[in-house]
């Protein structure tokens, strides 16, 4: 396992982390806090969308994000041949 390979692996990891954290931020702090009023103009069923993101949606997205990260990271581990056993 060479140094360049490890550097490339680390960059791929950081890129994935950055994308995931961007989604994490937009869904909770964006839709649920900073943009809550414009989002509240949109209604889904009995929910105002901003309120829904703050009390429900952001949590679902957090769960999905972690599973996505774990799945994608396992793939990257294999691509760069750094996976365990």
């Amino acid at each position: 396992m060479h140094r360049e390979n490890r550097m490339a692996y680390w960059r791929a990891n950081l890129r994935l982390v950055f994308i995931c954290l961007l989604i994490w931020f937009v869904c909770s702090y964006g839709f649920g806090v900073l943009l809550v009023e414009p989002m509240n103009q949109i209604r889904i069923g009995g929910f105002q969308l901003g309120f829904w993101f703050a009390q429900q949606g952001s949590i679902y997205i957090f769960v999905a994000l972690i599973f996505f990260y774990a799945w994608r990271m396992n793939q990257i581990d294999r691509e760069f041949d750094v996976h365990e056993d």
Partner: protein, 591 residues
């Protein structure tokens, strides 16, 4: 069977289960005791983490808190879940690869410094004791309300149970007990929620009922709730009163604080592989999310139920309010505990519940002939009395008692374990007696756990005034001291000992100073709090609950600046960082 007998039976059975598991999963060596022999499957670890994380406060108080805060309650929902994303992406896999026993141990090795280890141990012990005091109190309260024994007796029984499985089983015993406790608590939480959802909206899934129409009315639950709370002078349910920046900072402080809490981080040391650590955080959050997405639904429905009960007719109509003589059974039951109270201020024999602190609504209220809010409701009954309000059978009520105790015990046990590990592994083996044998260390760990339980019991029995105040501080501290140095330790090779210590101390002192200034933690005799705790005085409009975010930023800035002004860390430390960044072991020659 009477409710009391049934409650004894259900709680007793759950205790027998926990002790049975503890005996089956005894710890044989320090690996078992600290990290369950690294043999826990990711799903079991996820459940155990969820039980560890969800405290008596999550189980008993959170839905009620949200019921009265409305939108502002979102800070807790997002804040106490979003931290797991940070954990899974930024900390857990790397700390698992590092492969040692405790959080201060990582800080000590990465920053090649005993001083850093001691600072970390002090932060850890402080955070954990703050937390555990609240849990023991929770155990006592559940016992006294449901089993009608003294709070002290409840506490002693709770301490005894935790003693058996924490001291005997260590992390291994705790983990498998927590799996059982998770099942008990989540079942106890969702069953009443489902019944109430059906009663109000006809939809059995609370998360969907939350956004459904009230059965037979054609109006959505949240719209109806907005209408009725505003007609009584309360703030609109779906919008908040806190400033935008404050909501932002409190949420972020709670998230980062969650990711920096030692008893949460250490859970990811117990799984066999790096990839298990990643996915295990996902399972943990999934199991937590079941309760955390149900809680706001329960909160809104409980608030609606409460107001509807008190105000069955039109607001302001002479017969619009419930007559005191007609109050329902649960009202009388909970009146005896003092959690519900009534004072007939205008002497009309009816109960008025409205916001008498709202100056704009005062004239309106006077016109109705109301002379002040007459109903006192403790937010905790929103969960505790839910089954009775919904008219559910006694076994559900008994289950809620067992669930509340499970939530409190599981969190207390997890906290006690990190305290004992910090004492036996970081202080005794790491600093005082480095040559101690494995058996000696295991014994030291057990003795430390036993002492920690006694102190926790004492704090729960007679909580000093600062306990409630310091919960915000515990999160702020974790966010401002531990989280940044762990993160920098993994992602920035250049950060060295000097930077880490300077950063931790800056974050710690700034956060402590700010909270002391506005809330007064320990320096009461010196006249603190020194500033009025109002928005106009806050730095950038950030309340003491959210100030950990600024402490964290300062920690990052100071750590990076100081590191660049001093010598880089030695080569073997840089190699160690390279090593923890990849899941597979890298040969020395390739580093």
């Amino acid at each position: 069977m009477s409710l009391q007998a049934l409650t004894y039976l259900v709680v007793g059975l759950s205790f027998a289960l926990y002790i049975g598991i503890a005996i089956w999963s005894r710890a044989h060596d320090t690996r078992d005791f600290y990290i369950a022999g690294k043999g826990v499957s990711p799903i079991a670890n996820g459940m155990a983490t969820a039980a560890d994380w969800m405290s008596a406060a999550s189980f008993i108080s959170m839905a009620g808190l949200i019921a009265f805060l409305g939108y502002d309650g979102s800070v807790y929902l997002m804040g106490w879940t979003g931290g797991y994303v940070l954990l899974a992406l930024l900390l857990a896999p790397y700390l698992r690869k590092f492969g040692k026993f405790t959080v201060p141990e990582f800080i000590a090795e990465r920053y090649y410094s005993r001083t850093a280890r001691i600072v970390a141990v002090i932060c850890l012990i402080f955070i954990s004791f703050t937390y555990v005091a609240g849990q023991m109190r929770g155990v006592g309260i559940v016992f006294s309300r449901f089993l009608e024994v003294e709070v002290t007796v409840g506490l002693v029984i709770g301490m005894g149970i935790v003693f058996v499985y924490a001291v005997l089983g260590g992390m291994k015993g705790i983990t498998y007990t927590q799996v059982a406790q998770y099942c008990v608590l989540i079942f106890a939480y969702t069953v009443p929620a489902v019944f109430i959802a059906i009663q109000i909206t006809g939809n059995p899934i609370p998360q969907l009922a939350f956004g459904s129409e009230i059965a037979g009315s054609g109006t959505a639950l949240l719209d109806k709730l907005d209408d009725i709370v505003m007609s009584l002078g309360f703030n609109q349910y779906t919008s908040g009163t806190k400033s935008r920046i404050d909501v932002f900072c409190i949420t972020l402080a709670l998230m980062v604080g969650t990711a920096g809490l030692p008893h949460v981080i250490v859970r990811f040391f117990t799984v066999p592989k790096v990839r298990d650590a990643r996915v295990s955080a996902g399972y943990a959050l999934f199991f937590i999310a079941i309760l955390y997405t149900t809680a706001p639904a329960v909160g809104s429905m409980a608030r609606y139920n409460l107001i509807n009960t008190i105000q069955p007719g039109d607001v302001g109509a002479v017969d619009g309010n419930l007559a005191y003589a007609d109050r329902p059974g649960w009202f009388q039951t909970w009146q005896q505990t003092g959690l519900v109270s009534f004072e007939d201020k205008n002497g009309d024999g009816r109960i008025q519940y409205y916001n008498d602190a709202n100056a704009d609504f005062a004239a309106q209220a006077a016109e109705y002939g109301w002379q002040g809010n007459e109903l006192g409701v403790d937010r905790d009954i929103m969960v505790l009395a839910n089954p009775e309000i919904a008219g559910l059978p006694n076994w559900v009520i008994a289950l809620v008692a067992a669930g509340g105790i499970a939530a409190a015990l599981s969190t207390a046990a997890g906290l006690l374990l990190v305290i004992s590990a910090a004492v036996s592994h970081d202080l005794i083996k790491g600093i005082i007696v480095p040559g101690i044998s494995d058996r000696g260390e295991l014994l030291a760990g057990r003795i430390a756990a036993a002492f920690a339980i006694m102190i926790a019991g004492y704090l729960g029995f007679d909580p000093p005034g600062w306990v409630a105040q310091v919960v915000a501080f515990a999160f702020g501290l974790a966010a401002a001291s531990l989280f940044p140095v762990i993160l920098l330790g993994i992602f920035f090779k250049r950060v060295n000992k000097q930077g880490a210590i300077a950063g931790m101390l800056t974050g710690l002192l700034f956060t402590y100073g700010y909270i002391e200034f506005f809330k007064g933690l320990f320096l009461k005799w010196a006249g603190s709090p020194w500033g009025d705790n109002v928005a106009a005085n806050w730095l950038f409009g950030i309340s003491p609950e959210g100030i950990g975010v600024i402490g964290m930023c300062l920690n990052f800035i100071v750590a990076i600046t100081v590191s660049h002004l001093t010598a880089p860390p030695p080569e073997h430390i840089q190699h160690m960082v390279e090593q923890i960044r990849v899941p597979r072991h890298v040969e020395q020659a390739h580093l």
